[in-house]
Structures are given as C-alpha cells and as structure tokens.
Subunit: 341 residues, 2 copies
C-alpha cells in the first residue's frame, strides 16, 4: 500500500442559507487500518447529492445530521486495497452511501441498508454508474415514479430538474411506460439533453416569465404525474395545473432547502381537493429492500437502449465543496460526481 | 294533492367571503307536475352541507356551480306524492342529492350517481338518516377514512370538526378499527358529545392558544391519520405533528372556503417529505359505485351499537339560509338538517 495519507472533508459550520467554502475544512489524516472482518477502500468517485444539504443543516430531516468536526457523510465507489474479510479481495469494487467525503474508508461488509457495502460488477457498467443510474438516484427515479407516481400510458408526466441525476431516469422511465414527458430544467443546454433523451416538451424555468401559463400550454389535459425534485416556484406552477387524480411525488426540495425559516407561500389544498390528487413524500431508503430488482430492471432497460445517462465530473477531492455548490446552484449538467485518486 | 305552491330558494348573488341572507331569495311557484316516468316528491328533510359553499361561490370546484337565479342544489329525503313510474308509488320514500332547496321536486328515478333517486327503507332507520350517517356524510367518512386514510390498529387518528356530520362517523369507524382518536372541535358541548362517542382525547380549538403544542401532547407518537374536514389553522397544527408514513385526507375546507383570494401561509412539503406522508384530496362521489356496501356496513355497525349519530334540526324551509350559516360558522352540533312540510 503506497498511500499513507487520507484527505477528508469535515463540516466546519452549519450553513444558514446557501453554503459557502467556509462551511468545509479539508483535513489530512493517516490512512485508517482495517480491523478484523473489515476492508479498506480507496475511493474512485465520490457522489454529490442534493440530500447532503439537509444533512449539514440544522433543521430536522429524515437522517441524522452531520455535526461540526465530523466527516461529511456521502456515497462513494472505490477499490478494495486491503481486506480482512473472506468475501472481499484487493481489487474488488465496493460501493456504499456510508463512505464519507474522503479518499479512504474502512468499511465493514454486510448490512442491507443504504450504508451497507455492496460489491459492484465492473462488467455491468462503468463503476461510477453505481452512484448514479444503477445506484441511489436510479432507485429514487425507479421507485418514486413507478411505485408512487404510478404512471399509465397516455399520462402527462412533468419532471423538474429533468436533466439531473434523478430527473433523467424519471423521464426515460416515463417514456418507457408510454407517457408524454414535460421536462423542466434551467438552461438551453439542459433542455437540449432532455430533447436528446426523447422528452416531449422542454420548459426553461429560468427563461419563462409565466411558468404556470407555459405549463398550461404544455399540458392541455393537466398534469397526471408530477415528479418534484425542486420545490419552490416550479412546484407552485405545476400544482395549479393538476389533472383529475394526479399523483405528486415530493422527492426533493433543492430550490428551498437553503432558505432559512418556514416556507411561506400559496397553499394548494384546494387544488388537491378539487383534483382529488395525491401528494406523497418519497424517500428512496424506504424502498431499499428492493435494490436488486431496480438494478436488474434499470440495467435491462439500458441494455435495450432505453436508458442513457449523463454525468458531470470534477477531478480531485479538493473540489468537493465546489461540486456541491455547483449542484445547489444548478450549474451542473447531469449527475454530479468527483473523481479522486 | 292538497299542496299547490312550492317554495324554493334561489341564489340571489355569489357570496364574496362569508355568505349572508342577501345571497338567497325565497320564491313561491306552483307545484310542478311529473311527466311520463317521473315522480313528484315532497321533501321531509333538506340537507345542509359544507360543500354547498363551494357550489354557490365563483371559484372552480369539483362540481358545476349554481348560477344566479337558479334553485340552490342540495340533497333531500321525502315522500312520493304522485308517480308516473311503475316502480314507485305514493308513500314511498325517496332520497337524492339532486333535490334542491325546495319543498317539491319532480324527479326521474334511475341513475346511479349522487343525483340518482334512491328508495329509502323507513324500517332500517329514521328516513333522515339517508341524509346523514346512511347517506353522503356517512359514505364520506367510510371511504375517506377506510380507503384513503387506511387506519391500522394502534394508529392515532386526528379528526377535525369531530362532532360534525362526517367527523362523528370518522371517529367511530376509527375506534371500530382499533385506533386512538383525537377529536378537534369548537366548543365544550361538541367535545362532550365526542367523549360520549368514546373518542380518546378532545381538543377545543377555540379555547387552545397553541394548537400545535396541544396536538404534540395528545399525539406523542405523531399523527398517523389526519382526516381534515376544515383546513385552516387546525390543518396547519396537525401537519407539524405527522408520524412517519402519515396519511392526510383532505376532505373539507370549511375554515377557508369563505376566504377570498389564494390561501397563503406556511407550506408543509418539507414535513410531508420528512414523514414520507401522503396527502390526498378526497371526494365521496368518486366512490359512489360502492354506495350499497357502505350503507350495509354502516347499518350493521349501528345495529351492533358501534355507531351513534347526532343531528341538529331546524324547522321550516324559510330557515335554510340560517341553517347554512350555522354550519359555516360552526354553531350547529351534529349533522345540520332542516325539517319541512
């Protein structure tokens, strides 16, 4: 083993509003040593995901928050460099959401939850896919759309952050399910990618003055399924265009997650009642027991040419905060990753 | 036939905000004459329901609105006084939601929807029950709680307007399903009735300064099912106390239905996401095809002593607007009816 130091990002302070560089500290420590039954993994790709904003903030979320001075939690895929576990050998590829923003981690194989350590088959797809369309974002799209959104052929499906890690898959699964897909994204480049993916209509929310009217025009029969990755003004505009018995999947709130204080604005219970709509909070971890099913199905769709995916890769662990801010401000195009090592 | 005049209430103007007497005009016309296949029904009880506020307003609702000069739509139960239909004879009891605020209506038997004309069995229960626990409000509670709220034994079920036409049944069905019931109502008298019905905790929302804290205390494990009949501040307080995987049934919005303009306030998508809750708009008419099932089950529960019901009856068709305003301001205790003839 040639590496002797492990660089890792600690939380320096809880952000109020939009995080900045002062929230993060890069620390250098010795590479940890695996104990009995453990493996040492060297990261190849670190995942950058919107949920991390919730974890480093102060407000209640669905997961335990990161304390000041702790390594920021997050997923990664990497190579086993030392193993004290009979089922793992150096060279194996491991993926887990419990890696952390660091170059090396000692992991205990086993565990079926998101923080469990999964062996990745490099023959199936590039290993970074296990952080994107074959991993958490892919599962989010798969269960959120298919099990919660329940699309039917002919449905109009609106997806926000449509070129993002989750949105790309949502739209393509909806197309595969026979739906019409209306993509909302924040730049012409993002919408060009959506068009390439076969989505039917694209709306640039940054270039559209009246989003509600644009959606009304794009969805003359109303919105049957709304896969909401952002919250905020996009959410509001779609809620005014629900079709009868619409399903709204509240998956992400990146547009409001950095706003301090309660979320004040127009409420849509009247719209929900008139449309007899269903608004569901969705968290992929509740569906994790079906991980293998989703991976199998997504891989099959990809093999059949029905699933393409775009990543946005920065190089070097020192760029993690930059990558994270790119994501929070929507500067990335596709799944945000950082390549390390 | 001794009666020669029919008194009926027309909409004089669309209310802005809370309706008042000037919105309604009492008109006297000749008793109508049934044509071939039709029956003439003399009302015994007219139903007074919150949904009527939506129908007489200007904003979009789930049903066609009432135009100025039209008879206000509403349900009634009454006696057939003349019949040109082979299946109906004078003396039969008929119930329909398509009767109108009037003493006499010519009806065309047949039709399976809410405006269809149903024969009422006077041996089953007092005929006015067909407007309350064996009718639309009973069905609302039955399908809204059991099919949308999906209560499980041990769940904490919160119901607003708990002594109202729908709330009484919701609470008793929840008790029958093994749940703990937290009743929210607007007076000590209403809560005394809720206690008599066996509901576990009562909260007087008019006498409670911090409703959110009161609910937190009443629901230490959170709210599993929220049957929302009111919207407004009660809704807001409950939404801050959702348990994991809570189900929220948006059934009525009487607290806000008379507010002009959009409903501005705190939004709860963050709470819905963290709790992975489901918020569903509910309209009983979507479940009307299961009318017979609900009536059979509710009648059986009542026979088994598990269902009691309280009505609030005013006498005389001239009191319809008064009865309606009682309902909108929460002055009634139990299902509001007007006895006529």
């Amino acid at each position: 083993m040639t590496d002797t130091v492990n660089r890792r990002w600690l939380l320096a302070k809880h952000p109020e509003g939009m995080p900045d560089a002062s929230c993060f500290t890069l620390e250098t420590t010795p590479v940890p040593v695996p104990g009995p039954g453990e493996i040492l993994v060297k990261a190849r790709y670190l995942s950058v995901d919107p949920y991390m904003r919730g974890r480093i903030g102060r407000s209640k979320s669905y997961a335990k928050g990161v304390e000041i001075g702790e390594v920021i939690r997050g997923g990664a895929v990497g190579e086993v460099v030392a193993s004290n576990h009979p089922a793992w050998a150096p060279g194996d590829i491991a993926e887990t959401m419990g890696f952390g923003w660091q170059e090396f981690a000692v992991l205990a194989p086993g565990g079926s939850g998101p923080d469990g350590v999964r062996k990745v088959d490099p023959a199936l797809a590039p290993i970074e896919s296990s952080l994107s369309w074959l991993g958490m974002p892919g599962l989010t799209a798969y269960f959120g759309l298919l099990d919660v959104g329940r699309p039917r052929p002919g449905d109009t499906v609106v997806v926000s952050a449509a070129s993002g890690a989750v949105g790309q898959i949502v739209g393509q699964l909806a197309k595969a399910a026979g739906c019409r897909v209306v993509a909302i994204a924040g730049s012409p480049e993002k919408l060009a990618w959506c068009e390439e993916l076969g989505f039917d209509v694209g709306i640039d929310h940054r270039a559209t003055a009246d989003l509600c009217a644009a959606l009304r025009e794009a969805c003359p029969n109303g919105v049957d399924v709304f896969f909401d990755n952002t919250g905020g003004p996009i959410h509001d505009a779609v809620m005014k265009n629900l079709a009868l018995h619409a399903r709204v999947v509240i998956c992400g709130r990146i547009a409001v997650s950095s706003q301090p204080g309660p979320d004040i604005g127009q409420r849509f219970n009247g719209h929900v009642l008139v449309a007899r709509a269903t608004v569901s909070g969705f968290l992929v971890f509740d569906w994790w027991h079906r991980h293998a099913e989703a991976v199998t199905r997504l891989a099959a769709l990809q093999k059949a040419g029905k699933l393409r995916f775009r990543e946005d890769v920065l190089d070097g662990i020192e760029r993690m905060p930059e990558a994270f801010l790119r994501l929070l401000t929507g500067a990335n195009l596709g799944k945000q990753l950082v390549r390390v090592g």
